[in-house]
Amino acid sequence: MKNATAFAVVVGLMSSSAMATDGGAPDPGKTNELYPGKTYSPYAKRSFPSNVFWGDTHVHTGLSLDAGLFGNTLGPEDAWALAKGREVVSSTGLPVKLGRPLDWMVLTDHTDLMGFATDLQNGAPNVLANEKGNEWYTGFVQGGTAAGEAAVDLITNFSQGTLPEEFLESYSTGAQAYDRVWERIVDAAEDANDPGNFTAFIGFEWTSVPKGFNLHRNVILRDGAASALQVSPPVTQKPYGSTDPFHLWKWLEDYEDRTGGTAMALAHNGNLSNGWMFPTEDTYHGGKVDEEYVKLRARWEPHYEITQIKGDGEAHPLLSPDDEFADYENWDVGNLDITELKKPEMLGGEYAREALKRGLALEEEFGVNPYKFGVGAATDTHTALPTAEEENFFGKSTSVEPSATRIGHPFVKSPLGAIEGYQLLASGYTGVWAQENTRRAIFDAMRRKETYATTGPRMVVRFFGGWEFTEDDLRSRAPAFIGYEKGVPMGGDMGKQTSDAPNFMIVALRDPIGANLDRVQVVKGWLEADGTLQEKVYDVAWSDGREPGADGKLPPVGNTVDLEAASWTNTIGASELATIWTDPDFDPAERAFYYVRVLEIPTPRWVVYDKLRFGAEIPEESELIGQERAYTSPIWFTPEG
């Protein structure tokens, strides 16, 4: 058990080396490159990130067709205001404020028919000029069931390809009405962007969902309005777009060529793709996972949304039977609209850990790993309210904003199955290690994968991989210097092998207003010589002096949750955990990755707060307690030669 006791360790990891000349200080010669200025001030000229910035990569406003049609009346301006810490009023009339502001955010409204719902509700002249548009508008004005019927009629027409052509044309790439909406999104982001204090990214969600298989991607631009307004986001409806990711990747390439800017896409949590998010042989659209596919995927999708409101996507217990914590908030009934039920063989193409493993095999075959991604988390809220706090959860959509009945209302229901309301996950946020809070710094950190995901809490996690870390390094007052000096951070590739096995410096600090930590784990995946993909989860640091049992398993940390009060106490667990861990099973001939999973002690899920506040009834099968967690981006090892 490695339980760091010095609060200064983590402080040092966060803001590094206020006392760098004290014991355990870095070798000035070695840190020279990292710390080129060698100024008197230890904070000056630092070339590595010392701050973690919290954000959400996936937020919808009323400009998204589905959000707008079903009651979201908030626009980008409201979403930015909430993210920056202001109080706003939700679409259902509830005041809402985040416990703590976010540092950055990406607004990602659906591109298909983007802004149409808002124009419809506002009675825009181009909408009213059409007979159908006029009909829907009148329905919305009436409200109640008439509004609902208008919405469904619109959606039905859209999905069945019978939407008036002029609407499809007007709200697709390059059309005047569509570009006006895009301009509004861009302008709102520009207004909200405050370099050094708050980063407002310009982005969108490319809404590919063929036959209900969720292949969505969120696109983030590194750039401002000057570049963004030179382009028009791609849609998926024929003949104006395509659901094939190649179409998106081509758009991204064109964007960079045209503007000189930089962009990337990150795949939506793949758990509702029914296996198509991470293909290894055939793509959904009839193509092959070949040299071109792996290169383009690796180039354009360096980041992945590992957890969000629609379930956790790190691991599945069927794929990872030895991982006692893999059975966590999994959504595995079917695809997005449950028109196709899940089959076991689909799971491998949906979960992050399996994708990371598959990537090793594809790299062996093609020389490029298409699934070498960093990880982050998002809400994917359609309320414009990025709330990932259990006690402050505004739900997936306006229809399930806080109320006495939302727990019992299905999120999706089809003749084949249902996802119940209580299964929504109040998740999550992305922590980004960056040098400053600017578009450039945060985007670049995401590109180099120096990020981690949490299911909502803001624990601070550092993860370095190297060959020469020692216990003394952990006791350093300036561990971040040591980490960068002797290793690589999360998202990196292990440097040249200089010892028998890689070792890792890991430090985790609990959310200052959150729960203590249960344990820190390292998840390793590797490719054996015979092509077999393997994984193993190691407990590497834990709280309370527990001893592993005869089966090698660590006993549970305990449970302090008071369900009646919707609370818990930090009388178990640790406020910080740190360790130097060496891989005991290392084989230098095998490709491998390592990432860290940090588990909090048990805390109440959002449904318990609903019961406390509304007297809501909770079905017996609903989880009441969860162990929130963080996942870091991996560090990869590639054999020499």
């Binding site: 209900g212 039920l341 229901k413």
Partner: protein, 364 residues
Amino acid sequence: MLMRTALAVAILAVASSTALACTVCFPYPKATGVDYLDDAGVVVLARENPAKRFSFLAKQVLKGALAVPEVDLFLNSSDRRKLTVDPGRAAVLVHGRFHEPVSPTGVTQDAPATEDAAPAWRSLGVASLRQETLIRDVLERLPQWNAAANGDAQRAAFFMPYLADPERAIRDLAYLEVGQADYDLILKADRFVTSEEVQAFLNDRQYLEWHPLYILLLGVNADEAERAYIRQQAQTRLSLGQTINLSAWITAYIEADGETAIDWIERTQLNLLSASGEVVVQIFDALSVHGNRTTPVLRDRITRSYDVALSNYPVLAGRIAKDMALWRDWTLAETVRRVRTEFADLDNASAYAIDYYLGSAETN
């Protein structure tokens, strides 16, 4: 798969919805759980197979015979948890020739089984003890329902009390079962649900496709406020040409206001040429429901509306001829004959219905 053709089906059939990026409403199934139980060759209660996680092991056979207890069907995490928290519960699995669902561009559908579908297992979900009791009861009654001339009515009547069941899964099943009944029978369901429950359900937008049954019940014994509400809903939709659930609203409107409603519909819709084809078909569906009631008090008035409709909307001729033949009313024969002569491009079904009606008229 048993697909009964009760008249109300036409009223309850609405356009399929979709999941765009996020699901916004729940599709109305074409088959009920009872249909699956009926068509299945084997029905079992099962729990997780301890030797193979995330799959099933049959614990009890409720129908048919089972060669081996292992069932190779994925047990999802949601149902697995339900089984874990309550060792007394079991999943209901059915084996039969069920079609795989069809999802063209995200449109949810289930399809009735046919002989060419491969035999497969399907889970109907994890049952509570009350659901399990109900399923056993249904399995016992199904042979009798299938054999009886009025079996469909017996089946619907059996489920009516369950419309107010405290368990949503049972309520939903009852809703679908009652929804397949004849209109006259549906009206008897009114006493099992309160108007508050009906209103609450109709306010749930995500159940929009499910609304028609309760729209119909809204019209039964409606008080003045309810009649005004129904009138407003129906008239607005007709004015706008908004077709989702339109026939249900018109049916309820006629139920509430009687001939006055038909007068309004005839005056504002059938007498004009402006209504869309889909709207007039839904008007016809509603008129037909009332004309085909056991005690068709409005049939003469409806026949007059049919006459008007024939002149302006010959596309309805086949449907109207079918009803008129059923009613053995030959008063519209000349009008129908004129349509048959003037409109050569009628579809085969319409042409057949018209020819049958005209032939019958000549011999009567």
